[in-house]
Symmetry: C2
Subunit: 339 residues, 2 copies
């Protein structure tokens, strides 16, 4: 582990989705730009523009390796930004594509990433409308980094975000955990599985828009990327000030992912996903929401817990043995460069 207390330089763990990243953002980045939109700590910002509500989001992608079973950095970038817009309850309208290429990166590989992005954008029904391409010297990058930003239109009346979570809200999870993180890590380390484990990367906006169309009262949405389910729920607990409780036995994890996590020493609730999200709804809406999710690409959606409990601002996990334990962000390096 490279983590050192009081470190004065950037560490890999500052980007890993764990405690150091949380602290870097909380102590340095958010204070630097403090404003109400950023302080929401949501996946994107929603701004009023000439009477319309516009969602706006960005993410950079540095995943290593840049191609892995089930996708590549381009697919990830398109779906990731589509999903961040979806998590605002927005209909995606346009995304940007900005590349930082390393001198010596094969042109054929760049073409392949562009083709992946075009396919992913077409599949999600969103256009790449603006972009940028930069090149850095050999040894000053790592093949290809991609940034995508996106804008979408918010056509519902809700304020979706951590601060809208209410006591007793049901927490619904859209599917099984850990496929993306385990797949990328295995590809990086050269580990092979007996069956074809692949990233779960997928666009999520159609499921979210279907929930809204069905009149589900959505309080909060969050996709489970860097830091996984745990990081997402810990942040929502922190910002909302509410206790959140989830039940281990209700959290679906495939056998291959579970086996790989045991070998690699990972807990699936901390592992990154690229096609899974949680939605917070009032208890009366939960069953209907699950039915909508099942009908829109998430047959494995299920309730995993609720807002409320003994520890305000914290996430608790009820284990298979019935005991309750507080969940914290991992303090060290978890999965660097997973997205």
């Amino acid at each position: 582990m490279r983590v050192a207390v009081g470190a004065k330089t950037i560490l890999l763990a500052h980007g890993g989705g764990g405690k150091l990243m949380h602290d870097l953002l909380a102590e340095e980045v958010f204070p630097a730009f403090a404003n109400p939109l950023l302080d929401e700590r949501h996946d994107g910002a929603v701004l009023e523009v000439g009477g319309a509500r516009v969602a706006f989001t960005t993410d950079s992608y540095v995943v290593r390796p840049y191609v892995f079973p089930g996708g590549d950095i381009g697919v990830l970038a398109v779906n990731g930004t589509v999903n961040d817009l979806a998590m605002c309850g927005a209909r995606p309208l346009g995304i940007s594509a900005a590349f930082i290429l390393e001198e010596g990166f094969p042109l054929e590989a760049f073409r392949s990433v562009l083709a992946s992005m075009r396919q992913a954008a077409a599949a999600a029904g969103v256009a790449v409308v603006t972009g940028d391409t930069k090149v850095v010297d050999h040894g000053k990058g790592d093949g290809i980094f991609v940034n995508t930003a996106g804008i979408g239109v918010v056509e519902h009346r809700f304020k979706i975000g951590p601060s809208s979570v209410r006591p007793e809200d049901a927490i619904l999870l859209s599917g099984d955990l850990g496929r993306h993180g385990v797949t990328v890590l295995a590809a990086r380390e050269g580990i092979e599985f007996e069956t074809a484990l692949a990233s779960d990367t997928a666009p999520l906006h159609r499921a979210v828009l279907a929930l809204l169309d069905a009149g589900i009262e959505i309080h909060c949405l969050r996709d489970l990327t860097r830091g996984g389910l745990a990081a997402a729920l810990i942040e929502i607990a922190e910002v909302s000030g509410l206790a959140l409780e989830i039940e281990e036995a209700r959290i679906p994890v495939g056998d291959e992912v579970r086996g790989a996590c045991e070998i690699l020493g990972l807990d699936p609730i901390h592992v990154a996903n690229e096609g899974r999200f949680v939605v917070f709804v009032p208890p009366p809406d939960a069953d209907r929401a699950l039915a909508v999710l099942a009908a829109h690409g998430s047959p494995g959606a299920r309730p995993i817990g609720r807002a409320g409990g003994k520890h305000p601002g914290r996430l608790s996990l009820r284990t298979a043995l019935g005991t309750l334990r507080l969940v914290d962000l991992p303090s060290g390096e978890q999965l660097p460069r997973i997205c």
Copy 2:
């Protein structure tokens, strides 16, 4: 020079603003995402969102060194995106800030960039509303890369862009050329000047909005970043299909920049600026536009040429000797990592 004909890998010159970059975009990137907005090849896209016209743009910044006289990568990123919105005639509303940090980058240096960005955003009157932070392994980045995207609202009735340029339009230049490029190159190479040459980085939206407020009929705007005045006008000539002619004697270049360009073997019309732009207006509006520019931070604004001439789709320069020469993009590496 590392440029090779038929090269199958990415070269530094693919990011330098010259012919190779032009070809990479024209042959690989634009076709991959072909759509009417992207095909405009403007600094940003303008989308209809719920009745509003929203401008959307992105740029990554990889400037080396990341601090230079007159600014740093953070100031450049904020002003650059504000300016790309301004070039759509948009009022900037919000920008994103996405960082790719290299393991080992000093935390103090990151703080300093964040502070610069905050100051630049405050000076431009725009908020940083969303963001992202990634970390890559030591040796896989170069300290800090920044991506900013931005959204703004378009409140005028014009379609501003290369395809709106009309024959006989006056080409107005907002100030002297080359300060940013020469400053960064000098900082990189350790060259010192007798006086304090500094980057011209500055937000340009107030000048543009003042032109619109004054009722100037703006046909096209373009800031003169990578590739400088020449690349901007060559692209506008290409997309509009019109000949453009400029007069060398009318193009202001400071003595220090001119001297440095002579030493470095550069032509100021190809050197990057970060606070200069051209505006295309009908001839009857030109004098009034110059007066507005002079009153809004551009006392050196002047007419440098017009749309029209013998070579459709091409840029021509009338030299001090009175001869006319076609201007092409430089074929090799010009100024890598200038922004």
